[in-house]
């Protein structure tokens, strides 16, 4: 049960219940879909980018608690960040959930630390990283929907 508790942290459960920035962004400059065909997680991510800065970000859709909380936390952390910062945060997050994070102390992770437990559940890594992959492709101005299969 303790590994489960580590996966389903309060922060995750809370963001799952009340996702932040959970709406359509009417003046988005980038819109991209991400989905996980295996479990049916399906989100649309909206980004408003001005001068390489994420001035607004939101998402809509449905999926498991891990994917939804991850998307929600991500939106709260990226607002106001530059594209480069967002890219670096993606890399940190990816290492965190795949258990490869060694070079950064947990204090610098902020809310991302809630996702440390995911690395014990290899089948759930795709859930946790779906929104992040979608965000990265959107930043790269890709238009193909992101699939984590």
């Amino acid at each position: 049960m303790s590994e489960l508790r580590a996966l389903y942290q309060e922060i995750i459960l809370e963001h799952n219940k009340k996702p932040r920035n959970f709406r359509k962004l009417d003046d988005a400059s980038r819109t991209l879909e991400g989905y996980n065909p295996l479990c049916g997680d399906h989100y649309t991510l909206y980004l408003k980018i001005e001068n390489d800065v994420v001035v607004d970000i939101s998402f809509e859709g449905a999926g498991c608690a891990i994917s939804k909380a991850s998307a929600s936390v991500m939106t709260t952390m990226l607002k106001g960040r530059t594209k480069e910062e967002a890219q670096r945060m993606f890399e940190t997050f990816h290492k965190l959930v795949t258990g490869e994070l060694t070079d950064i102390s947990f204090e610098t992770l902020g809310k991302l630390a809630a996702f440390a437990g995911v690395s014990e559940f290899p089948a759930r890594v795709k859930c946790a990283s779906l929104a992040w992959h979608t965000m990265r492709n959107a930043l790269d101005a890709k238009s193909e929907p992101v699939s984590t299969e």
Binding site: M1, L4, Y8, L13, K17, G40, H42, G63
Partner: protein, 420 residues
């Protein structure tokens, strides 16, 4: 360890069937996962294998291995005899008229692809129609879609109602002058619905249309009589009926199979070959190109023996009790909704929970040692019909017990606790 004979003669609780004794013959059921006793409720994906099937595979490679239908040497003759002996067991098992009607192939999927590729391409043309139902597995959808794309024919779908039953009046209405073949699951893997296939075959035949039945989920649960059903094709997989993976059967009526062109070319399926012309072999070999999956076929034979050794009235009664019990206790959990409530069901309870996604439920149950399937179950149109992305599916085999269903219920309460 109890012997097989113990099981056959066991009359515990007067039912002629004792799940505890049966469990002893399935070695994997003693396994633990995450430190918990394994509760295996993913039988619709694949069933576990009894000792006798595992031993048959081992024995084949130890004592019999050689290619079949080719050598005059002793091993080859013995292996050929064993392989063809399984064909005979299969014929008896489904009550086919002739061994020529039993084609070995990889499984249900390949069987349906064979019919779509061979029968379909020679009988379904531009503007013609193929009729399936709204509860099919992807393997009884996609081969027909591919056929339709290739030939310019049209895929028609008989809808299902809110209980997950095919609406028979719609099914009948959709059979028209352009329908060339009807393909129906005997039992739905996502919902557990048992289709009234005998009636559906009769309806299609009244219009002169042949019918393929996808029996993947039916064979583990009840005795199949293809002549009584009067279906034209019946496809099923060994691995869902306690046999090995990688082997299955396509049954087809001899007259129809005779008229169909081969599906694949190669060794074994020919009588003579020159560069100008090939004369094809007789049934069933015409459809078995190349060295077949000999070992798993022989393992399949052991699975037939296993099933033939059981008292099927007792097994059916027991499985029905399990399903009824599971439906009651799972359905009674607040916030849980069972998807698929057909009046005739087999082996499956699919459900969703308020506010908790099936994938999260699956992860938490797994940590309790409980194996269920979560997702769309290769039946995305079924999910779309019910407006849900996925379900949790608990599916049962004859070795499951009420205690295991109680474990599942405890597991679901553990999920609720995490998500409070």
């Amino acid at each position: 360890m109890h012997t097989y004979q113990d099981i056959l003669t066991s009359k515990k609780s007067g039912s002629g069937f004792d799940p505890d004794l049966i469990r002893e013959t399935f070695p994997i059921l003693k396994a633990t996962v995450h430190g918990k006793k394994l509760v295996y409720l993913d039988n619709a994906a694949t069933t576990q294998k009894p000792e006798s099937v595992i031993k048959a595979l081992d024995d084949y490679y130890r004592h019999l291995n050689s290619n079949i239908h080719r050598g005059v040497h002793a091993l080859s003759e013995k292996a050929t005899e064993a392989y063809e002996g399984v064909r005979d067991k299969a014929r008896q098992f489904i009550n086919a008229a002739s061994n020529k009607e039993i084609i070995f192939l990889r499984g249900t999927t390949e069987g349906i692809n064979l019919v779509a590729g061979s029968f379909g391409r020679s009988n379904v043309g531009q503007g013609d129609e193929v009729l399936i139902t709204g509860l099919e597995h992807h393997s009884n959808i996609v081969p027909w879609q591919m056929l339709c794309n290739h030939t310019g024919s049209v895929l028609k779908v008989a809808p299902i109602d809110d209980k997950g039953e095919v609406i028979l009046s719609e099914f009948e209405r959709l059979i028209g002058p352009k329908t060339r073949i009807v393909a129906i699951a005997h039992v739905s893997n996502a919902l557990g619905t048992v289709n009234p296939v005998k009636r559906m075959v009769a309806i299609a035949h009244a219009h002169g249309i042949p019918v393929l039945l996808d029996g993947a989920q039916a064979v583990p649960h009840f005795r199949i009589d293809v002549r009584d059903l009067d279906c034209d094709f019946y496809a099923f997989s060994a691995h869902k009926m306690y046999g090995p993976t990688g082997i299955g059967i396509l049954y087809g009526k001899q007259s129809i199979l005779e008229a169909m062109p081969p599906y694949q070319g190669g060794g074994d399926m020919i009588r003579s070959v020159t560069f100008e012309k090939t004369i094809f072999n007789d049934l069933p070999h015409k459809f078995e190109a190349g060295t077949p999956n000999i070992a798993d076929t022989i393992g399949f034979g052991a699975a037939f023996d296993f099933l033939n050794g059981l008292d099927w009235n007792a097994v059916s009664h027991y499985e029905h009790e399990l399903l009824t019990y599971a439906s009651e206790v799972i359905g009674a959990i607040p916030g849980v909704r069972i998807v698929g409530t057909a009046s005739d069901k087999a082996g499956v309870v699919s459900f969703v929970m308020d506010d908790v996604h099936p994938h999260d439920i699956g992860t938490i149950l797994d940590r309790e040692g409980i194996a269920v399937r979560t997702g769309h179950h290769c039946a995305q149109p079924v999910m779309q019909r019910f407006g849900i992305p996925a379900t949790v599916r608990a599916s049962f085999a004859l070795y499951n017990t009420k205690e295991e269903i109680d474990e599942l219920v405890r597991g679901i309460y553990a999920v609720k606790k995490v998500f409070h």
